[in-house]
Amino acid sequence: MKADNYNDTTDRELLDNFYASHQNEWLGILLQRYTLLLLGVCMKYLKNEEDAKDSVQQIYLKVIQELHKYKVDYFKSWLYMVAKNHCLMKLRDKNNMLPVELTEKLTAAPAEETDWQALVQNDQALDHMEESLKELNVEQKQCVTLFYLEKKSYQEISEETGYTLMQVKSYIQNGKRNLKTMIEKKMKLK
């Protein structure tokens, strides 16, 4: 089985094939899609290249074992949770800290995603958007406008505004979150 042959196959289909046959090869194809992301997440938490590589391999094993035991519906969010938990446990072992284990329902759709989608489909929310955009602080308003409305990259925004890349990213993220809160408040009031 070559992973390239399954480029058009969805995660769900690969997982279904695995559950039907219990052949780990399906999981091999599925996990390969996430190697880069897993490496990145492990590096973010562990801050060490070798530890990150080792952890990716350990996560592979854990995923293969767990999927033989449980049925997972949303593979990507589940895998992200497994990876984060693994890193947090590693950090705990290293620093003798208490684990902050993350739990997530295996069958539930990622809550935040459905939340945002409900909002985007609501015409009322869009009506409040322009108004709320004006209420953001200067930095957030500037970055959100340049990013979403003028479709500029972080680099371009950084060059135009003089903010660092990290600041640009943070202003956009916080701005987006604040917009959501403001719109929800306005909708409740009406």
Partner: protein
């Protein structure tokens, strides 16, 4: 304008493939493509966390090689499990053949013993 405003609220972006992410990391994408990747990252916590980590690697060009090695190891792991399963299957069959052989041998022995006893 309305569509662009929708973009701010939309939290569903298409997944970014690994190759595009690697090109982004090496700063080899044009500005428009960069924006697309960043927009996708802003609504994808997994990819966004991963990007933060990947940016901490000293040599970004080495990342593709690391991924290749990890994928190769993964393939081996998956294949090893299959081989082990097949070996177990063979072992199971050997035991089955051995059991049948012993069973037949016992029947023959019993037959011979009974036959001799009857003759005596």
């Amino acid at each position: 304008m309305q569509e662009n405003l929708k973009d701010i609220l939309s939290h569903l972006s298409p997944d970014i493939d690994q190759e595009t992410l690697l090109l982004y990391l090496q700063d080899k994408l044009p500005a428009t493509k960069k924006h697309e990747v960043e927009k996708s990252l802003s609504s994808n916590e997994f990819a966004s966390d991963a990007m933060e980590g990947l940016q901490q690697f000293g040599d970004k060009k080495q990342i593709a090689h690391m991924v290749e090695v990890l994928n190769r190891d993964l393939k081996k792991k998956v294949a090893q499990k299959i081989q082990r399963r097949e070996k177990l299957k063979l072992k199971d069959q050997t035991w089955l053949y051995l059991a049948i052989f012993i069973f037949i041998l016992l029947i023959v022995l019993c037959y011979m013993v009974i036959h001799r006893m009857l003759q005596n």
